[in-house]
Amino acid sequence: MNIRIHNVSVEYSRPILDNIDLEIEAGEFVSIVGQTGCGKSTLLRLILGEEQPTSGQVIVGGKPRRQPDPTCGYVPQKYSLFPDRTVLGNVMFGLKGGRGCRDKAMHFLRRTGLQDSDAGKYPHQLSGGMQQRVAIAQALVLNPPVLLMDEAFSALDPGTRKGMQGLMRDLWRESGTTIVFVTHNTREAVCLGTRVIALAKDSSERGSSIALDISAPHLDFDSDEAELRSVICEVESATTNSQLTQHVFL
């Protein structure tokens, strides 16, 4: 399902996003990078329907976004799981019930790397990485046309993170879902996404706009390090292209 963002601006007490124009085609894996406070999570919440733009339009699959619904799956950094449900209960939450429901949930749990013995555990009994695996299974089991991930791997240790990134790329290939992946880690953005979008602020009076939009489908974690480095440098210089982004606005 494609995503159309037309001239979107968001303003609270200060401008956050300024005139964002973006088209994401069905089946793309888009990484959004930017510094802390640049509005990349706001952009994700607009697509999610959790927030409404001050001006402009966000259209997913031909329909404007009003509130979060099963069109867009969602994997936040934390608080994704229902603490009062077991792992299996969490994955089965969105399924309507009926035969095969349990088998389907178990299939997705196994696919995301969990053991059958984990199914009866509660989220607090799992490590952070395992919890995120469940959160991904929970979102993917409904086969959403769009999957939105907000710093989904940012709280994980490097080893776990690497495994999750590989898993995500495989799951994306299998499901063909459109993924928008927000991260502040440039290497993660470049290696995971087929397209990388960098947000940055030009001046303090205006919100962030798209500073760079490149296609990088050939790059992944096994790519040539020199080539990877040059793209990462390019993206990082785009996110820090103005002196204003150097200091944090409070």
Binding site: D69, P70, P76, S80, D84, L142
Partner: protein, 273 residues
């Protein structure tokens, strides 16, 4: 002086002895003074001895109260039932308070209607309303129940409101993306998640419930544990008052313990943070 340090680690024996020490000191000094007083004046009524208290408690448990005919067999039983009934009705009336707090937190229009009002209501000292309640509702059962509800319900409403609000937004958004509706999210996601904390909040407020209940019973009642305590004060009936006070504490302890046990059994996933 290593035992006064933050990192001190009392042995099991030391912990056991220290934790019971003040109980022992209290009990022993009471009976020492009581025996001394009884030696000077065998009719002393201020500090009854163990045997007097045991005797009075036995009488309370096996004989009807003076003002009653022989129809009811036990004064203690009759008082406990009367107080227990009011207590249960009051706690049951807190259920709508919990649901109101939940709805206020989940649905902005409900919150807009009730929040400010309850924040104001919560600051009114319920006991200062006592005369008004007696005038408005009379001095029978209704006024006593109303006193408790007015005293405790706003706290429960606001506490449930805060607990519901503290459920992370991500969890609610996630539920929407998994196809849940508004009512489903309020009850299946948020309410289920806060229920153990709500029960703990009610446990903490049991003390307040009892406080208002006792105030009502002492001022206007013809039965109940607090009525008995207030009545016996006129006769200096310390030999019954002290066992009654301990009996009330025991009952409240058992209710609290039972609710805690229930909470842990029903919510094995619950982690105190």
């Amino acid at each position: 002086m290593s035992f006064l340090r933050i990192h001190a680690q009392p042995s099991r024996a030391a912990y056991f002895v220290l934790s019971w020490f003040l109980f022992a000191v209290g009990v022993i000094s009471y009976f020492y003074v009581a025996i001394e007083r009884h030696r000077e004046n065998p009719d002393d009524r201020v500090m009854p001895t163990v045997s007097q208290m045991v005797q009075s408690f036995r009488d309370a448990a096996s004989k009807p109260a003076e003002e009653d005919d022989a129809a009811s067999s036990s004064m203690l039983w009759k008082d406990s039932i009367a107080t227990g009934r009011r207590f249960l009705i009051s706690v049951a009336l807190l259920v709508p308070a919990v649901l109101l707090g939940l709805h206020m937190a989940m649905f902005p229009y409900v919150g807009a209607l009730f929040l400010r009002f309850f924040q104001f209501f919560d600051k009114i000292v319920a006991l200062s309303l006592l005369p008004i309640i007696f005038i408005a509702f009379g001095i029978d059962e209704l006024s006593k129940i109303m006193l408790i509800v007015i005293g405790v319900a706003p706290t429960i409403v606001l506490d449930t409101f805060n607990l519901s609000k503290s459920v992370p937004r991500e969890t609610i958004v996630k539920a929407f993306t998994l196809g849940a509706g508004d009512v489903g999210i309020a009850y299946r996601v948020v309410f289920k998640q806060i229920l153990p904390r709500v029960l703990n909040s009610i446990r903490l407020n049991l003390k307040a419930v009892m406080l208002f209940l006792f105030a009502g019973e002492m001022i206007a009642s013809t039965d109940g544990l607090a009525y008995r305590i207030a009545l016996l004060r006129r006769h200096m009936g310390m030999d019954t008052i002290i066992p009654y006070v301990l009996w009330v504490a025991l009952l409240l302890f058992l209710v609290d313990w039972g609710m805690n046990l229930l909470n842990r059994t029903l919510h094995p996933w619950f982690q105190e943070k």
